[in-house]
């Protein structure tokens, strides 16, 4: 008996999440909720034997007694309008939009810190890809004065939400590098690449290493983290072995003698979206990881 779940939003993310959730033993997907009965996403949901109402988030609230958990793949705007009502209805919300109303969760770093939260935010795709590495570096050294991430995604995989508010991506991601990754200062950069065929998602993490840092410990910690993330995002990998480069570098967190460079690639699982859209796959995979952990926690401690 799994937790009864609904996905809100029948777009690309919602459909990809649907196929992942249909394989879960822990999460029992009952409905994909949309707003257009003729949409491809709702058609796919009906074909999968699911309820596919088109009355939007209100359907979830009307059926709150039969829903334990929602996965919101709509937009920050919609999530902000509804998040309190999900909580009032006793429904745990896993938020895949950038609304950031609940605590931010990056599974290999703080998955178990917020399992009782009524609302959990999944940060950004770039945040999911790079925060684990910033944390991995931070745990191997005494302090991390500055960390930076550069995310390059194929133009085809960057949706209108990202394009209309790209500052939201960089600000939210940068905050996650500090609050969850443990860096004192941070910066996030996103680049769109239109090459055909579309490129796989690339992420690079730069981290300033203070004097006296144990470089071997840093590199080992990076390898361990890559293995950890790839358990739930199979296409997550180090494109090249991580390196430590000699500076000095004059970062916003002060001068450092070295920097670590981590070159990552994320290939999507191809559940619904094409494999190049690793940026979308890592969001749905991370949301599944969180949803299943919440379900386990709720089963152990009945409310």
């Amino acid at each position: 008996m799994g937790k009864k779940c609904a996905i809100i939003g029948s777009g690309n993310i919602g459909s990809d999440l649907m196929y992942k959730m249909l394989r879960s033993d822990v999460l029992d997907l009952v409905a994909v909720v949309g707003i257009d009965p003729a949409s491809d996403g709702l058609t796919r949901a009906r074909e999968a034997g699911l309820d596919a109402p088109h009355t939007g988030p209100d359907w979830v609230l009307e059926n709150a007694d039969d829903i334990d958990m929602v996965f919101d793949a709509t937009s920050a705007y919609v999530h902000v309008r509804y998040y309190k009502r999900y909580a009032e209805a006793g429904i745990t919300a896993i938020d895949l939009t950038p609304a950031a109303r609940g605590p931010k969760v990056i599974p290999p770093v703080n998955l178990y810190d917020h399992l009782d939260a009524p609302n959990i935010n999944m940060v950004t795709c770039g945040g999911q890809a790079t925060t684990p590495m910033v944390y991995a570096i931070r745990r191997a050294i005494d302090s991390l004065p500055y960390a930076e991430m550069v995310s390059t995604v194929s133009s085809k995989s960057a949706g209108p939400g990202t394009r209309q508010n790209i500052d939201e991506f960089t600000k939210t991601t940068s905050t996650a590098l500090r609050e969850i990754g443990g860096a004192e200062h941070s910066k996030a950069i996103i680049v769109l690449n239109p090459a055909e065929p579309p490129i796989l998602m690339r992420n690079t993490v730069f981290a300033g290493l203070p004097e006296g840092s144990d470089h071997t410990a840093v590199l080992d910690s990076i390898h361990e983290m890559a293995a950890e993330v790839s358990k739930y995002v199979p296409g997550y990998r180090l494109k090249n072995p991580p390196v430590v480069e000699e500076g000095p570098f004059f970062t916003p967190g002060g001068e450092v003698p070295h920097r670590a460079v981590v070159l990552l690639e994320v290939e999507g699982a191809g559940d619904y979206l094409p494999t190049y859209a690793g940026n979308l796959d890592i969001m749905t995979a991370a949301a599944m990881r969180v949803g299943e952990a919440v379900a386990h926690a709720q089963q152990e401690v009945p409310a």
């Binding site: 930076e148 133009s155 500052d167 090459a195 690339r202």
Partner: protein
């Protein structure tokens, strides 16, 4: 303030980017005194607009693009204080800089914002173009790596920027990869299709920058970019002192004093330059392979660090179709080339 210069009719407006694009060539090490000297010289020569920022635009100071020696906002404040006639402009790349940065520099006195995207991604500029317009700045949409899109493709992208409120649209030959014919076809298509003026930002990797700028003017471009002594990414920009001199030869009215610009280039800018802007093999390869010009010095450092060829790095980046902003891929390519070399030696 001289009323003569402010009312003079000009055939095109010159935007000088020595303090922005030139920042690439000196690895973002500008000092306040240098900024003041350059602004003073350009302003006295009648340059209408002076652009200043980190080479990769506001917020570009980073591991990926190089840290600024002095905070760009401090330098921008100095430039705004020093300029008597010229408008001070800033460049911003959405994804690197923030709309909040535009608010900050507007308060410092910046009058123009140029919002730059890759030439196929104009729709990420909406938020920033609208912010700049709301702040009361003249706002230019700036499409980089324009050789990677067709004339018709550029028109579609430019129309988006125009619809967001851009006051002018630029195409930037960021890789210095365009022939004169490439420039003519693109400018012609844009001038035909747009209601707002068109501009061209040329680079000299194929030794075409001045010729391409003049061709752009002949096709109807109303704004042209350059830098003093060509200081800039790759093999450099269109040198403003040469553009002014050639314009005079053509009988094109620029409103700038070519001799004074020659003085600035020779006496102010050249003494600051760590290397002269020559078209060496690496610079030429940028234009030949169509690679973003600011990769040049980053590729040189990676080549030295990993003992591989700078030319090989640049050719591979061209093959991968990387775009502006993907400087991290230089390390990626250098590591892979080094690994290939090691494997070959093992055999």
């Amino acid at each position: 303030m001289s009323t003569q210069t402010s009312t003079q009719r000009v055939d095109y407006r010159l935007i000088d980017s020595t303090l922005r694009d030139g920042s690439h060539a000196i690895s973002h090490q500008y000092e306040p005194e240098e900024v003041i000297a350059i602004v003073r010289g350009l302003d006295a020569a009648g340059v209408q607009v002076i652009e200043i920022a980190h080479g990769d635009g506001l917020g570009g100071s980073s591991f990926n693009y190089g840290f600024s020696k002095v905070d760009e906002k401090e330098l921008i404040a100095r430039a705004c204080d020093e300029a008597k006639n010229a408008t001070i402009a800033c460049l911003l790349l959405p994804g690197i800089g923030l709309a909040d940065d535009l608010k900050d520099v507007r308060e410092l006195g910046v009058g123009m914002a140029r919002i730059a995207t890759h030439c196929t991604e104009a729709d990420i500029s909406e938020q920033h173009i609208k912010t700049a317009k709301e702040l009361g700045m003249e706002t230019i949409g700036f499409m980089m790596m324009a050789h990677m899109n067709s004339p018709q493709g550029l028109v579609e992208q430019a129309l988006l920027m125009q619809s967001y409120g851009a006051d002018a649209i630029y195409i930037a030959d960021s890789a210095g990869a365009m022939t004169t014919e490439d420039v003519r076809r693109r400018v012609n298509a844009l001038v035909e299709a747009l209601e707002v003026p068109v501009g061209v930002h040329a680079h000299n990797n194929l030794s075409m920058a001045v010729a391409n700028s003049i061709a752009a003017y002949e096709e109807g471009a109303a704004n042209l970019d350059g830098t003093s002594a060509g200081l800039g990414a790759g093999a450099g920009n269109c040198p403003t002192e040469i553009l002014a001199a050639v314009s005079n030869k053509y009988g094109i009215t620029t409103g700038v004093d070519a001799l004074k610009l020659m003085d600035v280039a020779e006496e102010v800018v050249r003494p600051m330059m760590p290397r002269q802007q020559v078209i060496d093999r690496a610079g030429l390869i940028l234009g030949y392979a169509g690679v973003y010009g600011s990769f040049l010095l980053h590729a040189q450092r990676a080549a030295e660090r990993y003992n591989v060829s700078q030319a090989d790095i640049l050719m591979e980046l061209g093959r991968r179709q990387v775009v502006g902003g993907q400087e991290d891929m230089i390390i990626d390519v250098a590591l892979e080339l080094a690994r290939e070399h090691a494997e070959q030696e093992d055999k």
